[in-house]
C-alpha cells in the first residue's frame, strides 16, 4: 500500500499504526536505488514528499529549524558555510533537488555528508510520535552504531535544530573524494566555532557512524588556535577516529587524512574568525 499523506500528522499516524512494516520514503535517492537493484520497498510505503510543509525552514529564538524534508539544494543556499558546502558536495543537482536531510539522517550512512556537518553544528533532532509527541535528541547521541539510530520504528524525524547559527564565528567543511564531483566521501570533516571559543569537529567515513571528535575538541578547548595547538589537535584526531580498511580506502589513509583535514579546517576557522574580529 502506498501512503501519500498531505500532512505530517497523518504521516505520524500511519507510522505509529504500521511501525516497522511501513517504509518512509522522502527523496528516494537511497531507497529507490535499492528498489532498482531488486530490493522491494516493502508492502507499505509512506511517501513524505507530499507532506505540504515538510520542506520548510523556520527560526525560533535564534535557532534554525529545518523540517525533515528540506532538500540538499535548499541547504546549499543556507548561510552556514560548512552545511552549505557539505550539501553542495552531495551528488549532482538532480540528487540535491530530491535528497532530504531527514533521509540522510535516517539512512545513517557513516559517509553521510549532511550528518557530519550537522554534528559539527551541534544540531539536535526532533523525533516525533503520533501520540507520545516529540522528543529532542542531540545528533551526537542519535547515531548508535553502524546504520542504527535512536529513531524508533513508529517514529519519524520531524525537525532538525541548529542552535544559534548567526552567532557562529566560523565554520568549515572539507571532503575528499575520488573525482571532482558526485563523490561518496573517502573522508569528510566539518568544524564550527562559537564566539565563546568552543569548537566542534566532526568526521564522516572514519567510524561506523558519523562522529564528533570529542577528545580533540576537549584538547582544543576554547583558547586561541595556535599552530602548535592545531598540530596537536591533528595528532589527537588521528588517534581518535576509528577508520576501517575497505576497498575504497585504507584505514591508514583515512586516519592520515583526518590529521590533514583537522589542520585545514582549524586554520580555515581561525582565518575566518580573525576576519570577523
Amino acid at each position: 500500500m502506498f501512503h501519500r499523506p498531505a500532512t505530517f500528522a497523518k504521516a505520524l499516524a500511519i507510522k505509529a499504526d504500521l511501525g516497522g512494516r511501513v517504509t518512509p520514503l522522502a527523496g528516494g535517492t537511497d531507497l529507490i536505488v535499492g528498489l532498482n537493484r531488486g530490493t522491494s520497498l516493502g508492502e507499505e510505503v509512506l511517501d513524505l514528499s507530499g507532506v505540504a510543509d515538510y520542506g520548510d525552514i523556520d527560526t525560533e529564538n535564534g535557532s534554525l529549524l529545518l523540517r525533515g524534508g528540506v532538500t540538499f539544494a535548499r541547504l546549499a543556499r543556507l548561510d552556514i558555510r560548512c552545511l552549505a558546502d557539505a550539501a553542495r558536495s552531495v551528488g549532482g543537482p538532480q540528487i540535491r533537488n530530491r535528497g532530504t536531510i531527514a533521509g540522510n539522517l535516517a539512512t545513517a550512512s557513516p559517509a553521510g555528508d549532511g550528518s557530519a556537518a550537522l554534528l559539527a553544528l551541534d544540531a539536535e533532532v526532533e523525533i516525533s510520535h503520533a501520540t507520545r509527541g516529540a522528543r529532542w535528541i542531540k545528533l551526537a547521541d542519535y547515531f548508535l552504531e553502524y546504520r542504527k539510530t535512536a529513531l524508533g520504528d513508529d517514529e519519524l524525524i520531524s525537525r532538525i535544530r541548529i542552535p544559534a547559527p548567526d552567532a557562529l564565528e566560523a565554520t568549515a567543511w572539507y571532503k575528499i573524494g575520488k573525482r571532482g564531483a558526485v563523490n561518496i566521501s573517502v573522508v569528510c570533516a566539518a568544524a564550527a566555532r562559537w564566539p565563546d571559543g568552543r569548537l566542534c569537529l566532526a568526521f564522516g567515513s572514519v567510524a561506523p557512524v558519523p562522529m564528533r571528535a570529542t577528545e580533540t575538541e576537549r584538547l582544543i578547548g576554547t583558547g586561541p588556535l595556535t599552530e602548535e595547538l592545531i598540530h596537536q589537535a591533528a595528532q589527537c584526531a588521528m588517534t581518535e577516529v576509528r577508520p576501517i580498511d575497505d576497498w575504497r580506502a585504507s584505514a591508514d589513509y583515512r586516519r592520515a587524512m583526518c590529521g590533514v583535514l583537522t589542520r585545514r579546517l582549524l586554520r580555515a576557522v581561525r582565518a575566518d574568525s580573525e576576519g570577523k574580529g
Partner: protein
C-alpha cells in the same frame, strides 16, 4: 496495488493507474512509450534519466511515478517547438555535443533547468549544473560550448 496518478507531462494532463513501485523512468518509457528519457545506472550517478519536476532536474530513476502526483513533468520530448528544435537542442547538434547521444536527453534537461533559472550563469555555475550528468563520449567541451551558446541566444 495500483496508484491512481494524476500529473502533467509535457503540458498534457495524464491520468493513469500505475503500480506503486514503478519508477517515473519506467512509467515514462514502458507505460507511456516516451523512450527519450534514458536509464543507464539507475542509482542517480549518471543523470541520463533526468527530467524536470516542476522545472527542477531530478533523476526519474529515483522517483516513484506515484510521487509525481499533482506535479509537472517535462521530458526531452517536450523541448522542441513542433518541428523546430529548441535553441539548446539546436546548439547541441551544432557543436557536436551529441555524439552517441545517449546522455543527451538528460543533459538537455539539466541544461534547460539552468538556462531557465540563470541564463547568465558563468562557466563554473554551468559546470555545477551539469555535474550530475555523465558523458562517456565527448569530454564535455562541446557540451559546455553548446550550453554557453544557447545561453547567449536566450530562449532555451
Amino acid at each position: 496495488m495500483a496508484w491512481h496518478l494524476e500529473c502533467t507531462i509535457n503540458g498534457s494532463a495524464v491520468e493513469r493507474d500505475v503500480p506503486e513501485d514503478v519508477t517515473l523512468l519506467s512509467f515514462l518509457r514502458d507505460h507511456l512509450g516516451l523512450t527519450g528519457t534514458k536509464g543507464a545506472c539507475l542509482e542517480g550517478e549518471c543523470g541520463s534519466c533526468t527530467v524536470l519536476l516542476d522545472d527542477e532536474p531530478a533523476c526519474s530513476c529515483l522517483v516513484l511515478a506515484a510521487q509525481v502526483h499533482g506535479r509537472r513533468v517535462t521530458t526531452v520530448e517536450g523541448l522542441a517547438h513542433g518541428d523546430r528544435l529548441a535553441t539548446v537542442q539546436e546548439k547541441f547538434v551544432e557543436t557536436g555535443a551529441a555524439q552517441c547521444g545517449y546522455c543527451t536527453p538528460g543533459l538537455l534537461m539539466a541544461a534547460k533547468a539552468l538556462l531557465e533559472r540563470n541564463p547568465d550563469a558563468g562557466e563554473q555555475e554551468l559546470r555545477v549544473a551539469l555535474e550530475g550528468n555523465i558523458c562517456r563520449c565527448t569530454g564535455y567541451a562541446s557540451i559546455v560550448e553548446a550550453v554557453q551558446l544557447a545561453a547567449r541566444e536566450g530562449n532555451p
